[in-house]
Assembly symmetry: D2
Homo-oligomer: 346 residues x 4
């Protein structure tokens, strides 16, 4: 196939290096340009020795014209808020943009402003497609602006949406208790990600106020056909990668057996390349480095609750891998192209 020229804007964070790892072996693209504000002038493999022998491009300062001259597709791995002007400039120059920040994920500028502050380009929101191919495959084909989902939303939405859509669980009262590795916090050093502070303990953070909440609610409400307001508690775990989302729901019928939930998940994900319904509790250790999602469901008959779990590698299916999968969907390539690797276990 003819290779598509792609650029990565914001190449020096963990999402950036993961994009480079994946794109460097993708048979349908050629990596032609890297931007990295603070690291302009440095080679990618100097920034990340893991790329030695794989990616030798030098990072540039961002210049929309340069990116447009070099690439047809751009991935933006920028901090929240910084994507808007970059995306606009690249869209104006005719590029397809896959943005990995939160800037275009919410359909409602109002919702955005409640959690992030005023949106700098609300007019772009309508055209943006939520980049989760399992949910938005049809609209992704040929899309110009893709909002690649967040890591917690990916693990959570893929676990819960089929059960809400099938009316097996109530949209009210959902609890999402999520556990994440430290790479989700990015590469900027802080006390909260300092090894000795977090290397051998667990704690929650941003209790009842994490910004991924409205994104989860938006997509689950669409699946449920009803508003969803849920409780979301993220936790930081002593591991680099992985998200496990443990969700608690009230069944619409308390007598329904576990098999019904598993069957609904299997029916929904039949034919999906990356989502696997498992009977054992999903383990993030099985997913490291791969784009797979493991989902499962249990019934707590005594308490009349359903426990639903979704697990991913936060940097792959939760970020860079999903972005590549979405790009494949946009370009009409088979979705698994370049994403065929199994998880690196152990």
């Amino acid at each position: 196939m003819e290779r598509v020229a792609v650029a990565v804007v914001g190449a020096s964070g963990y999402t950036g290096v993961e994009l480079l790892r994946l794109l460097s072996v993708h048979p349908g693209v050629t990596l032609t340009h890297l931007s990295a504000h603070k690291n302009a002038g440095l080679r990618a493999d100097a920034l990340f020795p893991s790329l030695l022998g794989r990616v030798s491009l030098t990072c540039q300062s961002f210049d929309a014209d340069q990116v447009a001259a070099a690439a047809r597709v751009a991935f933006l791995a920028l901090p929240h808020g910084e994507s808007v002007p970059v995306a606009r400039a690249l869209l104006e120059r005719g590029l397809t943009v896959l943005d990995l920040s939160a800037d275009f994920r919410l359909r409602s500028a109002d919702d955005y402003s409640k959690w992030y502050g005023p949106h700098a380009a609300p007019e772009l929101l309508e055209g943006a497609v939520y980049g989760m191919p399992e949910l938005w495959r049809e609209r992704l084909r040929g899309a110009r602006l893709v909002a690649v989902p967040g890591c917690y939303p990916t693990a959570t939405i893929l676990a819960l949406a089929p059960l809400l859509a099938a009316r097996l669980i109530e949209p009210a009262g959902l609890i999402v208790d999520a556990k994440s590795g430290a790479s989700g916090a990015g590469r900027t050093p802080s006390l909260g990600t300092h090894f000795s502070e977090i290397g051998e303990g667990v704690r929650a953070y941003k209790v009842a106020e994490h910004r991924h909440t409205p994104e989860i609610e938006q997509e689950l409400a669409r699946a449920a056909g009803a508003p969803v307001v849920l409780t979301f508690t993220p936790h930081l775990l002593p591991m680099s990668r992985g998200i496990l989302s443990t969700c608690y729901a009230t069944p619409t019928d308390g007598e329904r057996p576990r098999a019904a939930y598993l069957e609904a998940l299997r029916a929904r994900y039949d034919g999906e390349a990356f989502v696997h319904v498992v009977e054992h509790p999903p383990d993030t250790a099985h997913l490291r480095g791969g784009n797979a999602v493991h989902v499962g469901a249990w019934v707590d008959a005594r308490a009349r609750k359903v426990v639903v779990m979704g697990a991913i590698d936060n940097l792959v299916k939760g970020a860079a891998g999903q972005a590549v999968q979405a790009m494949n969907a946009v370009l009409g390539l088979p979705e698994p192209t370049g994403l065929g690797g199994a998880g690196v276990f152990p």
Copy 2:
């Protein structure tokens, strides 16, 4: 003070070594006897080099008469099911027994049989006191048989009981999502505790069927004055020690501010030596090696839920430390005796 002679029966597991660590610096006791079935003939500090220079006793095969000749108080750190005959033999010989297994924790032999199978000595259950001094201090004084609580129950009960007792949260629909370090699984090697399998990932286990569930329900029902049936999901984390219990409850009044929950916790634990109400999310890293409990509460006003957390070191306040604290209560010693150490952080 005159030192009390104490024995540890089952000295070769993690609970055993933790008892030895704590008892070896306790100013009110003298460690006089160790039993360890498989390791009889070995010195404690050969089994556990961490004890070099601290505990040089040699492990014996269990013999009730020997224990009775050597000690007035016995701690049993045996697998579930093995404590009953040992406890009976030592009680008959006049010893005070603190049992760290599940054998005497449930008041109802019926409940026990549902989760563990038939109880071998239901007649002993009535006299056993649940060894959580914060709840059962009065009955512990002079008790002969103490059922030291489990690790998950300790973190969970101490977080939720005050809010139930104060009628701030509903007893129905409680969700307990707990995270534990690997030492809670004991010292017997298995694939499920093999480093490479679990060292860099997270997973749930025994979903909706963990045997600590009835113990939590029993004590919370007492606090609530109403039956409690809850959903409990334990998770295994890549760390050795620590339990964080993240609990989700429905408030009895959805408009109540966070301060009310914090105040109820503070009021309940005022004067307690080991329970601290914290405003930041409790972090198990702060608690390692110490007997402290950190509890906190948050309100999710949007979703009308209360999030309550309890964190402990599973081997200290969740096992050996609580056992020593209970012994202090039994003997009439100040509860912090021998337990004064802060957590080893980082």
Copy 3:
């Protein structure tokens, strides 16, 4: 290209699953057969959920005729000592055998017997080729029996051999202090690989008696053109993957600058796909999941020593990846075929 049918015998250990991960995306082979003694009847993706969607073959009991009917190339991932009869049976049936055990690595049956006991098929040793393409590329082409190197030897030999060959360091008095993740110990649970025992500490093991010693000496002696007797100390670290070999050597000229050592390494590895000479201390975190080797050298001018380091992923370049690279060399495929992925960092 036409795909070659390959079998994996011993598919249920960590080397086995890593072979399956790599071979399942290799464009030149088709995985046609798996043997796994204890797990016969189980699907590979049931044994290892990381393979879900990637490898759905069912493990068989080993039967040489079946393997021969199914495959032209066989990888043996068996415990030391078990490979000999399997290799012989497959060689007799015309297969090409890549053995990942130690059974065929030593050229001298005498050396073998000193470290492992009597060799069961010394007549096969002469024909076996040491499967490190950087050293034995020419002999690998068309080889019938390949002895894939051990993990410690790979990291150590690739670091030291060029400096010995260039007569920059003395062959006498070499010290090798190696650090390994726990996956090198395999998948069989034991106290020595139990999470709580090793998850937060470091220790040496098999001091001055590890069986990889003669293998390192054999290859370094060849490079040096002189006998090599060295001190080798492996250490177990709290991580799953990675080996760092820190080597100490006496320079043949104490005034020689660092650049000379780096230049010798660069000259030797010019054109090699997988070996990279780095100026920063090699970090196993950069190598996880990839087949790369990072080597570097430092001069301690004060003490007149040279410090040489080699780092790899023990399961990839230290086992399965090197086996695939060797197979490529045997079959005349470009060596990087199927091994193009960068390390999974972080």
Copy 4:
């Protein structure tokens, strides 16, 4: 006994919090004053929740008169270079000073200037006593200025000094390969201590240029009665605490059996409260939180080398614990006072 009033200057780093943990349970002292430049006004237990219920003092800005008014003994846990003026001011006011930085560890201002730059108060060096009681017990009694040793030197010197003193190993050609947990790097966040960068890998740092080198050489030369120039390579491991120093030496007699080295170590450390000679490889996991040192020796008869190991908790025997032990020696208290705890294992 009458309690001595003590202050901690620099209470907000990891050495500081460890001093607070230890001093808060020391029966011979009362903690009366904390200084912490950046955290003045904060309570110690707000900075470190591990201290809740144990240390409630509020940190002050440093003021020598205030410290002198409050305490008779001061521990300085300040960055290298900052201790000199503080120590001088407190000495002038009559306090006993235990400094945990490198400022007073080297006897020679020349040596200091080679590794650290010009010394700001060379006249104080002569009076400073190296605070390792096992070596300098006699001079510590009544000392006014104690230079508490570094972590790497402690593990290394205690392993090697007895064998050098007994002329069992050569002073020339010593190799020290050391492995450390991340807490040794302090509490200031940086990319080099960011969890995701270092949480699952190993690397060396400051190869042949670490500033602990001259300190090790100074004390070993004294033991050997001859100059010592050695090669020292520190490594960073994915764990919070612990140092293992693996040392390689040439025996003065290549035929000498292992028992001779073990015997020399045992003879030297007979009666020492904290140093234990072990036959298994020392494991830092056994030492966490305690002041113990485990040392051992092996003979590599083939290569005519002796492998000597020392392991400690870097924050206890490698910093705060050794400081308290040294204070006990200064004050004439039994050295184990307040340091009786076993390692927290697992």
